[in-house]
Symmetry: C2
Subunit: 577 residues, 2 copies
C-alpha cells in the first residue's frame, strides 16, 4: 500500500515548496528558469513591461532582475499569459484529448474549459469519467463543466439520461468548475424541477453554471439569470450581449468553426465599460479549422484586425476567463501565477513561437514536446471503444413506402425547412432517403425520412457524429448502400463513411465513442478531407460540408424539421409529422 499523506504532511510538503519559491523570489537562490529581458503583457496595469520573469516550482515567482539555472533571452518577443478557451466541446476536434492537446499547444492554449456533452450523450457518466482520465496531467490544463442536458431533448434517444443525482458527485472533482451550458432555457424559465435541480446542485457545491440562451429578454432573461446562470456564449449581436451584461452575466465571445460572433461583438472589447466581463471561447473547433486558423491566438489576431486594443484583447484571452472560473492562479504574469506563457512575435499576428506550461517548455519553433498519453483505466478504455449496440442492418430495414416528411437543407445554415412529403428516393429532384439508427441500446429503432438539398446522386453517406444523441445518420440513394454504410460505421466502432455499390470510397473511423479518433489531428483531417472529396464526387453540393451539416439533421432543438430514431419531427410543435 502506498504512502498516505496526512494533512500535516501535506502542509509541510507545500511549505517546503513555498519556502523555495520565496527564496528564489527574494534572490537568495537561482530560479529554475528565467525569461531574460522579457517584454510581457501586464494584464493588471494594461501595460507592456520589460524585465526578467523568474520561475520556480512551475510558478512565476519574481519580476525584476533574476538569475536562473536556465536562462532564455526574450528580446524581440512578447510574453503573454497562456491563452484560455472558456467553452469548448473537445469532442468536436474529432481527436482524443491528448491529440487535441498536441494540436492546440502550438497556438499558445494552456487551459481549456470543456463540456463533454457529446461523449456523455453516448456513454453517460462513464463519458465524463473517460474524459477526466484522458486529460489527467496533460500540458493543456483541461477543466470541466458537467453536461446539464443529457439528453438534449425528450424526443431523442441518447445513450444516457442524467438527473441531478447522476452528476452530483462530479462537482467535487478538482478539475470540475461547474455545470455546463444550460441549453434547456425554456425548462429553467418554466421553473421545471429537472433542470433547475441541476443548477441548485452545482450552486450547493459553490460551482459555476454556464448559460446558453440566444436572444431571450426581459422577464424570461431575469428568470433564467435569477435561477443562477452566470454566463452566456450564444450572443449573436451586441444588443443581446448588453442585455445580459447589464443583468450581471459574463459573456463568452464565441468564434468557432460553425458559429462566429466575434465581429458582431467586437465593440464589447473596444469599449472600456464592460470588457472585463468578457472572455473568448470556440464552442466547437473542427480539424481543418484548428489546423489552418488556430485557436485563441486566431481570435486575438481577428480581434486586433477588427480594431480591438491588443493589450485589452490579451486581457480578454487570459485574465477574464480565469477570474470567471475562479482559476485565480492563472491568466496573468505576476508572482504566484502559473508559469504558463504564450510567447508571440507581436500583438498583431499573435504568431506563437514558444509555449511554456507550468515552467516547462512544451512548444518551440514548430516542435511540440513529447506528451505522455494519460493512463486510462481499462474499463473506461473498453467502454469508450465499444459504444455501438445495434443489430446487423439489412436493406429491408430501410424500405419505405409511406409518406414521410422532407427536410430541406439551407446552404450555410443549420436550420432546416419543411419541404412537404415524399415516399421514395428521386435523385433527379434531389430527394434522398435519410435514416437515423438507434445505436446505444439495441432497440432496433430506425427513423426514416427524406432529405432535399444535399445533392447526392448515388451511394450513401453515414456518420455517427450526430448531435446530440450521436445515433447513426445515414443518407443514401439506395437501401443497400445505406445498410452497408451504417453497418460499416458499427464495424469501425464509429466514424464517417462514404460508400457506393457496396464499396467503401472513403472512411474516417472514430473509435472513441463514435466521436473521436486515437490518431493525430493532421491524419484525421486528411481522412476527413478525402471523405469530403468522395462525397462531392457522389454529387453532394460543394457549398455544403457533407458531414457537419448531416450531423445536425437529428437535433430536435433547432427549427424547423428534424429526423430522430422515431421519425420526422416538427421542432416548433414538437410533434412527429
Amino acid at each position: 500500500m502506498g504512502y498516505k499523506e496526512t494533512w500535516s504532511g501535506k502542509i509541510n510538503r507545500k511549505l517546503i515548496k513555498k519556502q523555495h519559491i520565496i527564496d528564489v523570489a527574494a534572490g537568495r537562490c537561482k530560479a529554475d528558469l528565467v525569461l531574460k529581458n522579457a517584454t510581457y503583457v501586464n494584464v493588471f496595469s494594461a501595460e507592456l513591461e520589460t524585465q526578467d520573469i523568474a520561475v520556480a516550482e512551475g510558478l512565476i515567482v519574481g519580476l525584476g532582475s533574476y538569475e536562473g539555472i536556465q536562462e532564455v533571452d526574450m528580446t524581440g518577443k512578447i510574453v503573454c499569459p497562456g491563452f484560455i478557451d472558456s467553452h469548448i466541446h473537445l469532442e468536436s476536434s474529432l481527436v482524443s484529448p491528448v491529440e487535441f492537446a498536441r494540436a492546440v499547444i502550438p497556438h499558445g492554449t494552456t487551459t481549456v474549459i470543456t463540456d463533454p456533452h457529446e461523449i456523455t450523450n453516448v456513454m453517460g457518466t462513464d463519458g465524463i469519467d473517460y474524459m477526466l482520465a484522458a486529460t489527467e496531467e496533460l500540458p493543456v490544463d483541461v477543466r470541466f463543466m458537467i453536461p446539464s442536458c443529457v439528453p438534449a431533448s425528450a424526443l431523442d434517444e441518447s445513450g444516457a439520461n442524467l438527473d441531478y443525482r447522476d452528476i452530483d458527485s462530479f462537482f467535487t472533482h478538482p478539475r470540475v468548475q461547474g455545470l455546463a451550458e444550460m441549453m434547456n432555457y425554456p425548462g429553467i424559465i418554466a421553473a421545471s424541477a429537472e433542470p433547475v435541480s441541476k443548477i441548485v446542485t452545482s450552486q450547493a457545491h459553490h460551482k459555476k453554471i454556464d448559460g446558453h440562451a440566444p436572444g431571450i429578454r426581459d422577464k424570461d432573461l431575469n428568470a433564467y439569470i435569477s435561477a443562477g446562470v452566470y454566463s452566456d456564449h450564444e450572443c449573436a449581436d451586441l444588443e443581446d450581449a448588453m442585455a445580459k451584461l447589464r443583468l450581471g452575466q459574463f459573456i463568452m465571445i464565441r468564434e468557432g468553426t460553425a458559429a462566429r460572433n466575434l465581429e458582431a461583438l467586437i465593440d464589447l472589447i473596444k469599449s472600456e465599460r464592460m470588457f472585463d466581463r468578457c472572455m473568448f471561447c470556440t464552442d466547437d473547433k473542427h480539424p481543418n479549422d484548428l489546423l489552418e486558423k488556430g485557436h485563441i491566438d486566431y481570435i486575438c489576431r481577428q480581434a486586433v484586425a477588427l480594431g480591438a486594443d491588443p493589450i485589452r484583447t490579451v486581457q480578454v484571452a487570459c485574465l477574464h476567463a480565469a477570474r470567471y472560473f475562479l482559476l485565480n492562479n492563472r491568466g496573468a504574469i505576476a508572482p504566484g501565477y502559473l508559469a504558463d506563457f504564450a510567447i508571440v512575435e507581436d500583438l498583431k499576428d499573435f504568431h506563437v513561437v514558444t509555449v511554456y506550461k507550468k515552467g516547462e517548455l512544451v512548444y518551440h519553433d514548430g516542435q511540440v514536446a513529447k506528451i505522455a498519453a494519460p493512463v486510462i483505466p481499462p474499463h473506461l478504455e473498453s467502454a469508450a471503444h465499444n459504444t455501438f449496440h445495434l443489430p446487423v442492418l439489412t436493406p429491408a430495414m430501410f424500405e419505405n413506402h409511406r409518406q414521410r416528411g422532407v427536410i430541406g437543407m439551407i446552404p450555410g445554415q443549420i436550420i432546416t425547412e419543411d419541404r412537404g412529403y415524399a415516399n421514395s428516393v428521386d435523385t433527379q429532384k434531389d430527394i434522398l432517403k435519410m435514416a437515423v439508427i438507434e445505436r446505444h441500446k439495441n432497440t432496433g429503432h430506425i427513423g426514416i425520412g427524406y432529405l432535399n438539398g444535399y445533392g447526392l446522386k448515388a451511394g450513401a453517406v453515414a456518420t455517427s457524429v450526430s448531435h446530440d444523441s450521436h445515433n447513426i445518420i445515414c443518407v443514401g440513394a439506395t437501401d443497400t448502400d445505406m445498410a452497408f454504410a451504417a453497418n460499416r460505421i458499427a464495424e469501425n466502432h464509429g466514424g464517417i463513411v462514404v460508400v457506393k455499390d457496396g464499396r467503401i470510397l472513403a472512411e474516417l473511423p472514430l473509435e472513441i465513442a463514435g466521436l473521436m479518433s486515437d490518431k493525430p489531428l493532421a491524419e484525421v483531417n486528411d481522412l476527413l478531407e478525402t471523405a469530403k472529396e468522395a462525397a462531392y464526387t457522389l454529387g453532394v453540393g460543394k457549398e455544403i460540408d457533407p458531414f457537419m451539416t448531416l450531423s445536425f439533421m437529428s437535433l430536435p432543438v433547432i427549427p424547423t424539421v428534424r429526423l430522430t430514431t422515431r421519425g420526422v419531427v416538427d421542432v416548433i410543435t414538437q410533434q412527429y409529422i
Copy 2:
C-alpha cells in the same frame, strides 16, 4: 434530536426556493418586495438605470416591471448595493458585534470583513469562536479573516500563541474567507516556517490571504506576493499602491480613524486602468468617528469630494470587495444577488435614508430595526467576560529606583522617541511612570518605564486596550493611584479608567475581553468622551487622545521605544534597554 437533513433533502429544499424565485422573476407570482421606479447603480455597466427591482427569498430576482406583495416607491432616491468594508478590526469600535451592527447599518453597510486580531490576542481561538458566535445572523453579514500574527511579536506576552494547526479548522467555517493581514512580512520574506505555514494552510483550503506590508519593494515585494499574499491595505502613497497592483495584489484603500489614505490614493479611483482591483476599508473605526463621520458612506462622500466619479466610487465600495473575497452573490444589483440595498439621496453626499438586508428593511429614516442579539454559547460568554488573570496589585509592586528608558510621545503620531533614562516621576519635567501589567496568565510580570510628553500632573490613567497583547497599560504620578487604577480595570473585567487620590474620576468598562462593551455605541462614546475630559483635567495635553495614544505604547513592532511586560525595549534593535 432535531431533524437531520440529507443531501437530497437539502437540494430539494433549495429547489423549492429557487422555483419560487424563478416564478417571481418570470412574472408568474408577486415578489415579496418591489422597489418601484428605482434609479439604481448598475455596477456592471457603470450606468444609472431606472426600473422596478423585484425581491424574493432575500434575493434580487428581476429588474423591469414587477408587482409585489409590498411595493415601495423609490422616486427621487438612488439605490446602491449594500456597502462592504473589506478590512476592519471590529473590536476597535469598543462595542459588541450586535452594537456595531446597530451602529453601521444606518450607514448602508451590509457586509464587513473583520479580523478579530485583538480578541484573539486575548482569548486565543476562543476569541475567534466568540466573535463568530456573536455575529451569527446579524443584519450586517460579518465575514472573517483568521488572525495570522498572534502574538504580533515574540517580545510580547499575549493571551495566546497560535500556530497553523491552531487556526486550521477555522478555514472550513462558512463565514471565514481566509487568513488576515500577514503583518509579519519580514518573516515571510525570510521564508520562515511559522508564518509561511499559515499562508500554506489558508491556500490549502482555497482561501484568501490579506497583506500588510507598507512600502516594501522589488525582490522583497516579489517574495511576499509569491508567498501567496493577495492584497494590501497599508499603501500610503500612489507609488506603493501601483507597485503592488502591477504585481497582482488587490488594494484596499483605507480611510479609518487612525490611518487615512484616501486622499493619497484617490488617483487609483480616478484612473480607469486599475480601479477594478481596488476596494475600501477602514481598518479601525473608533466610536466618535463612526458616530460623527460614518462608515463606507463617509469614504464614498470623501472620494467624490476629491474628484472621483460617483458610479466608479460605488463600484469600489461594493462590487470589487465582493469579487476579491469570492462573495459572488453581492456587491451588485442584478438577478441572483443578495437584496442588500443602501438607498441614498444622491451620489454626492451619500446620505443613507433606507437600508435593506436580504430584502428586509433594517434602517429607515433614523430608525434601526430591532436586532436580536445572537445567542452566544455560555462557555464562550463566560470566557469572554473573565479574561483578567492577575494578582491584586499593591503600590509596592510599582516601586522603582533603577534607571529605566524614557519613551517620548510625538503628538499626532504613533511612533515614539528614545528620550534617555529616568528613575523617578517628575511631573514638572513631564516624566511619568508607566507600567505594563501582564494580565492573561497570572505571571505577575510588570514592566516599568517612563513616559514623556503625556502631560499628566496627578493621579493615573489605565487601559486594557493596549495593542496587540492587551495587557494593562497604566501611566501615573503616584504608585498608589497606579495600583488603584490597574486594580479597577481588573475589577471591571477591562476598560479604561482615570483616577486621582484613590477616587475614580471616570471610567469605561469594556467587559468583553477587556476590549468591548455590551452597551450601545452612543453610551460608550459618552463614557469615553467623559473619561477623556477627566484625563485632560489631570493635565494630559489636548493635542493627544489620552487612551488611543497610550494603547500603542506597548506595541513592539512600531519604532522607536516601547514598554512591554518585561521592560522598555528598543524596537529597532529588538533589545531591552
